[in-house]
Amino acid sequence: MLTELPPDLLVELGPTLWLTVQLAAATTLVLFLIGTPFAWWLANTRNVAKPLIEAVTALPLVLPPTVLGFYLLMLMSPDSPVGALWVNVTGQTLVFSFEGLLIASVIYSLPFMVQPLQTAFETIDRQPLEAAASLGASPLDVFVSIACPLAMRGFVSAGILSFAHTIGEFGVVLMVGGSIPGETRVVSIALYEYVETLRFDLAHTLALILVAFALVVLTCVYVFNRRAAVRVG
């Protein structure tokens, strides 16, 4: 099967793979930036609306991706206020663009960042945090110098899961991004199209790459968790 592959395999798959990695990396980075303070807030708040906010955060877990994609498409279309504003500011439409895809991915993968982080923050022993405060550390200082290092396992899990989950997304991308090569055509979409067009050789290669990637990532997660557990215990 591999012998049947076209010689320009890299040319064919390269841009798609690179775009996918870029999207997953950018999504993970943005999620770290907004997910970390958000998870810390969720872990510490006594707000009565907390269950509702948690439910909204978890929605992408249970909603069919196409539902999420549909609403995002509506929101980003140039006819909507948000989409129109984007066109005004950037001169481009948000739908069928990398930026639009990034926003969609961030929302889609949000629970995969927030939930592990929130759990990690919630399971930190309170006493080191209080001890740090009594030693003269401000709340922000306590968060950066004590809470984050103690929640390191949560950060690693959250980062890996968000990255991997973004790579695996399909429905949302299809609705919001379409399949513009080099711009919005990620591996899951490409795979679908290869099958549709009966190019099974390329489909096989891409599928195999994704399976190998998922296996490596998950093995890393388990190895890391075991090591951390041994060190902590």
Partner: protein, 369 residues
Amino acid sequence: MMLHLDLRCRVGGFELAVRELVETGGCTGIFGRSGSGKTTLLRAVAGFQAADGSIRLGEELWLDSIKGVNWPPHRRRAGYVFQRGALFSHLDVRGNLDYPVRRLKSRHNSSEDWPGRPGFDRVVEALDLGSLLHRHVNGLSGGETQRVALGRALLSDPALMLLDEPLSALDLGRKVDILPFLARIKSEFRVPMLYVSHSVDELVRVADHLLVLADGEVLAHGETGAVLERLDVQSVTGRFEGGSVVTAQVERHDPTRFLTLMGFAGTRISMPMLDRLEPGTAVRLRIRSRDVAIATEQPRGISIRNVVPAEVLEVDLEAGSPYAEVLLNAGNQHLRARITRDAVADLQLVPGGEVFALIKSVTFDHRAL
């Protein structure tokens, strides 16, 4: 300097109300049964526990709910030491000790020492932490953990140290190891302490003053010996642990019999030798009620060595119990004996009666007076 406390806090259904002027010249023990509000009080002073009222340390107003003042914990400079140390497990021992030092330096905008700050090397030396500096905190024993926690709190240059049962997680041997370090912190660094404990023996050794809590209210507050002598404290300490604190004079050591001989109440008592004590020094002894028996005549043929003439001051029959508490005057110091009601009747003990107090065992209070 004084710590002015006028606090009310509510935790669940429990209410704590404390209005006291606490002497911060040394160590004030906060004593009470579990659930009496000791830790809640300490946490309110630290700023971890929301409270109404006011807290003022010297000129610093930490809390005043009327004026709307409520300093966050990190501004109060109250070094809190937890039961199990609460060390930072992502740092080694040196990292833990450096933590408050870095924050102090950035606050003082200088990398130099300033007068009065407990120097790093001095703290390391005083708490014998030199060999631990590069160890990971998870590998430390309970006693080592508490020493690091004490050193770390000390290095934050605290205005007040808050110790929340710092020895209760240790076994007896380790406790005895740590007590001299606490004494050293007190004498060498002169940091005022609030020391929460439910162990009378511990508090007798470290606390100059004692604040006794019961059901969220102050039951007694004053000089340690005086408070421990008061009867109503016994209902808090439990009859079993109740006792008295007396002063005795070291006369000499007898190395052949491994005894230290002391003058007390016009007679001589002995206890296991402690030759660190210079002859002539006054020492405090704690004598538990249950370790004191009473005889109406000078006993003979008895294994108990310490027999002290005394006068009966009070006989207090415990309600619903076979026991009675007898208050004795021995050389103008108070002793307590816990004996049975039967014995009271048999010996016809009444106030004014001349008796002999038979003291089975004595513990040292490590402070020389």
